[in-house]
């Protein structure tokens, strides 16, 4: 089923849309959520919320790129779920590790509190991404957007783990410069 057909089903609130959505993007969403939550139980909970969000948001929404629209909802939902769970039990899981990487180089809590213009930040952040070399950008987003491990990224891109680490380090340094320029550090 094409994305247009799927959206058409959602627009008329046909429940088959949810079945088709799961058939088409269930595996993709699951991999995104699983990368973040690392728990089958939490992932399933997350996916239920994702399907509900898509159901509630289309219409009025009519995404041009349905796959990425769902991917973003999945990531946000998974992070929110992780935050909820994280508030209940503090641990030293892989998200904590990832945040530790970023907080070392990228931004401070107090600075980020200043953010009140998401659009300006979106523009600045994407300009930053645009300034990266494609491979560097892929590594950065695979790690911090899709939340793959360093090992998974190395396997996916057929490069060494140390190359992935070096690239991430360099990109974080650049990100720090961007945040400095934006007055966020």
């Amino acid at each position: 089923m094409s994305n247009d057909e799927l959206i058409a089903l959602l627009e008329v609130k046909d429940k088959n849309a949810l079945v088709e959505l799961e058939n088409k993007y269930g595996g993709y969403c699951k991999s995104i959520a699983m990368n973040i939550l690392r728990s089958r139980e939490d992932t399933q909970e997350c996916l239920n919320d994702v399907y509900l969000s898509v159901w509630n948001s289309i219409p009025p929404g009519k995404p041009e790129d349905l796959k990425m629209y769902i991917a973003e909802i999945t990531r946000n939902t998974a992070i929110n779920l992780w935050r909820r769970k994280h508030a209940q039990k503090r641990g030293s899981g892989h998200i904590e590790l990832l945040l530790e990487e970023l907080s070392d180089e990228a931004a401070s809590e107090s600075a980020l509190e200043k953010l009140d213009d998401t659009l300006a930040l979106r523009e600045a952040f994407n300009s930053f991404l645009g300034s990266l070399k494609p491979e560097q950008r892929r590594i950065f987003l695979l790690r911090y957007w899709y939340m793959h491990t360093v090992r998974e990224i190395a396997q996916k891109l057929e490069i060494s783990q140390s190359k992935v680490k070096v690239s991430l380090h360099r990109t974080r340094v650049k990100l720090k410069k961007l945040l400095e320029r934006e007055g966020l550090l």
Binding site: E123, F125, N126, S127, S131, P134, E135, Q136, V166
Partner: protein, 328 residues
């Protein structure tokens, strides 16, 4: 622990997310230029330093390996014939820094260094830290250059036994309202970076003590200013261009979408020559990295570097960000 940074990263454009997943065309260049492990940071303006006596000497250039890593062979030949290859060195018992080339235009003064480790300690440092800190200041009065004036571009990973580690150091002439005067002598004093690649403190053994280099005055690259129909300017030199085109900030989702569709955030470029030939960023040796550039305290432009030298006299126009910039 701060986790709002995850929300910022969540703002990534869909086209980049597709790219990250390996979908669509992903550009691969044979000779990739990388950002160095440690960007070279300039000391704060208040921390003006007295220069220690370094062993600065002019040496016969032994190789051009460093320059070849950043430019194609035709560019290296042109640089050599025009006296842009330097060969100036500074060394102590651990390191020899060879400043292999200096080129400059109105916006950037770019130096390529080949760093040779002279002992085991230096090799260990290069392998584990792979970067340097530096202070930059005017040699005539020790006035420090502003933060962010320096950007370094890196090299291949260093492995013990490698002969040298090469990197390019760019000094940006304009950052907001702060300027660097390239006509004045600029001095670089290198220092150990504090942390290694894992961001753990590296033992301070003063390995870079005395590594000081004055950047020689270099012949300015040929350049031309090109203009779009709406009055914007693009500065083209032989090794890159600076588009004085601000990256607009959308005030609403609808405006943002419109700007994306208009190609405002598209950084591809095309150079049209007078003989009708065309080069784009997809052609070999044309694209060597780009950076956002602060034109004043609020406006951002863009600097694009080439891996080759372009004959600007033969250029008819440059198309960038949906505008064709032409000669007046």
């Amino acid at each position: 622990m701060n986790n709002k940074i995850l929300d910022i990263i969540g703002l990534a454009d869909e086209k980049y997310l597709h790219e990250a997943q390996g979908e669509g065309q992903i550009k691969q260049t044979k000779h990739r230029r990388k950002i160095s492990a440690k960007f070279v940071a300039v000391a704060a303006a208040a921390a003006v330093m007295t220069v220690t006596a370094g062993a600065v000497a002019v040496a016969k250039l032994s190789n051009k390996e460093g320059v070849r890593e950043f430019y194609d062979s035709s560019a290296v030949s042109k640089m050599e014939s025009r006296g842009m290859l330097s060969g100036k060195t500074s060394e102590n018992e651990h390191f020899r820094f060879n400043m292999q080339s200096v080129i400059k235009d109105d916006y950037v003064c770019s130096c390529i260094f080949a760093v040779e480790p002279l002992d085991e300690k230096a090799q260990d440092y290069l392998e584990k830290v792979m970067g340097f800190d530096a202070d930059a200041f005017y040699a005539d009065n020790n006035e420090a250059l502003y933060m962010s004036a320096l950007t370094s571009w890196g090299w291949k990973e260093y492995k013990k036994g490698d002969k040298s580690l090469n990197f390019e150091l760019d000094i940006t002439a304009h950052y907001g309202k702060r300027n660097v005067d390239f006509s004045r002598p600029i001095r670089l004093e290198f220092k150990q970076a504090e942390n290694d690649l894992n961001n753990k403190p590296y033992k301070d053994e003063k390995l870079l003590d005395g590594i000081v280099l004055d950047i020689p005055q270099a012949q300015k690259l040929k350049d031309v200013k090109l203009y779009s129909d709406d009055g914007k300017e693009l500065y083209l030199s032989e090794t890159g261009f600076v588009a004085l085109v601000s990256m607009p900030i959308a005030k609403s989702e609808a405006e943002h979408k419109m700007l994306v569709e208009k190609g405002e955030y598209d950084l591809d470029f095309k150079i049209k020559f007078k003989d009708g030939t065309v080069k784009t960023n997809w052609d070999e040796n044309m694209e060597a990295g780009g950076l956002g550039l602060m034109l004043d305290d609020t406006d951002v432009g863009f600097r694009q570097a080439f891996r080759t030298m372009v004959d600007v006299d033969k250029v008819e126009s440059v198309t960038f960000k949906n505008r064709e910039f032409k000669r007046k």
